[in-house]
Symmetry: C2
Subunit: 137 residues, 2 copies
DNA sequence: CAGGATCCGTGATGATACTG
DNA sequence: CAGTATCATCACGGATCCTG
């Protein structure tokens, strides 16, 4: 595992460049790094939701950001958007199989985060104490 | 799994709020969403590296961003920073156990991304074709 | 109800220059 | 070599107003 150059390098390095937007990995990871995407994915993993339900569930999200987030997820084939021709309009969102897969992975990350949250907070405290007035925050 | 409200909601929603910076999950996930952090973590999973080696490996990163990235990772206890009192200075970085754990999880995400890259790209194309001139990009 | 259009402040990021 | 400091930019998110 520490010989030569075998870690995860081969996976991310060759095409992780910011100037290679087509190399994909980053594109997907970006969605994971997005606060709202993760929260929406999480909420939808509990079942189909309407726009308003999502907005209430993911408290704090603005109308604008919810729309953008949900659109991007739809564009990536992670959620489906269904419009019912009622008056006023009714729209529901649900995870696709692909979305469920990603949700599961993200959930793993989230669980790890929860489990290590305290330890990391501790590290930060000690670090901050040892580096007073650091510009790195 | 779809009864009532059981998905991932309980994990992320209660404390994912942007105004609860102490609720942790987001803090860690942010690091995953960060381009450079992922790349550095990835490179270090292959072994100890010096600052310059990292900069060359993670091609495209600016000196400034590499410093910030590596500092934050150190602050979170994900990597160790070792300074050798040579002239000029020599500094090496390596993953901690915690860092290795996170790397492994991130690697899972990256693998999924790779595997689904084509499908997602396809979804985007169709979506873009079906939504000409959309502001959602 | 769901969401498009606009305006605008702020923080993250890149480029550049200097140093122990 | 391995940073630190400064400056300019710019995309991202929030707030607000309007509509099918």
């Amino acid at each position: 595992m520490s010989a030569g150059h075998t870690g995860g390098t081969d996976l991310l390095e060759p095409c992780g460049r910011a100037d290679h937007p087509d190399c994909g990995i980053r594109d997907v990871l970006d969605r994971v790094g997005d606060t709202w995407s993760v929260l929406v994915l999480s909420e939808l993993s509990a079942g189909t939701r309407r726009f308003g339900e999502l907005q209430r569930a993911v408290a704090g999200v603005s109308q604008r950001m919810l729309t953008l987030t949900v659109r991007r997820l739809e564009r990536d084939g992670l959620v489906t958007r269904t419009v019912y021709p009622t008056v006023p309009a009714t729209v529901t969102y649900a995870l696709t199989d692909r979305g469920r897969e990603l949700s599961a992975l993200v959930r793993g990350l989230a669980e790890w985060s929860l489990a290590n949250r305290a330890a990391i907070a501790g590290s930060r405290e000690s670090w901050d104490a040892a580096h007073p007035g650091s510009t790195v925050r």
